[in-house]
Symmetry: C2
Subunit: 207 residues, 2 copies
Amino acid sequence: MEPSSASLDRLGRQIAFIVEVDKLKEIFRQTLVINSRRQENDAEHSWHLCLVVITLAEYANDPDLDVLRVLKMLILHDIVEIDAGDTFAYDTVGMSDQHEREARAADRLFGLLPDDQAADFRALWDEFEERATAEAKFAAACDRFQPMLLNLNTEGASWRKHGITKPQVVARNQHVAEGSQAMWERISALLDEAVANGLLPAQAPAK
Amino acid sequence: MEPSSASLDRLGRQIAFIVEVDKLKEIFRQTLVINSRRQENDAEHSWHLCLVVITLAEYANDPDLDVLRVLKMLILHDIVEIDAGDTFAYDTVGMSDQHEREARAADRLFGLLPDDQAADFRALWDEFEERATAEAKFAAACDRFQPMLLNLNTEGASWRKHGITKPQVVARNQHVAEGSQAMWERISALLDEAVANGLLPAQAPAK
């Protein structure tokens, strides 16, 4: 059932949004949770990113980071996947129209809210997508750092399933350094360990 | 495997904490997610609370609410359940030693972190538990408001499963009003509708 919020009062529209985005708990990602090895969903991923932010904010390149704005971006960043689905980080075909699909989703989902709040939340999502501000760069760094940590703690499960090599991981994730040089240096060292331990191929096999 | 973080450097200890609390995704609650009707886990619940905060902060009784501190409390508030398990909101037996079990869990889990950060996070959890500050009262209001919304959108599934009546729901949740009078008034009206629609008994059946 598609909720129609146009006839509701302000709080009613906000509640309709909160109820609708419950669906984020049903959008599954390629990364696995560590203990049960099931696929992680976007809602628990978003929580884990918030935890990474409050734990590692001290490593942001920008010492004046607005942590509240980083958290707001990450609470909202994947909501568009309710309509657009999850695009795997290494799916270059899916990525070609990803932004267009997600922008349509943002129109519909944030459109459930009162206009002023819809504009606020959309601006936060746009800021995250553009990755130009210090806050968006650090948010994006956390969004790449956490899946690598999960891969490193599940014997590289989603890398191995999809035949991902270290050069691909580096190419896709090196912008972590734009948000946090220290986090990038540490995860790079952990990637080297994963190569040494056979969890991540150093390069693609010769054809 | 129990992580030992004592020999690690600062960032190593922080990463060990981030990895350990991945287990929050495996702690299941009595409330059901709306579409698939499976039990919600604590990680996705925590994300949903963060979303409620940024959407409904304008209704906090305190107009000067520190939203960042509310979010930090809610990101951390259920981590203790990794060791202590989820205690159902209407389980008065389980509640008798709940705080003691959770305090031991807080010692172990926050103890993975560097000492200064362990103390910061423990102080946030203690503040949430004590429910004395405006931020803790609003965080607690969101933590009660969201499960009621899920119940209202799953035909009262967890209320009906456990034979919960409206007076029990009111007794357990009326402190929402301490954080937000407006949120309490709205949810009270929705509870009245649920009674009218037969999802929530007005009182316990005569014995």
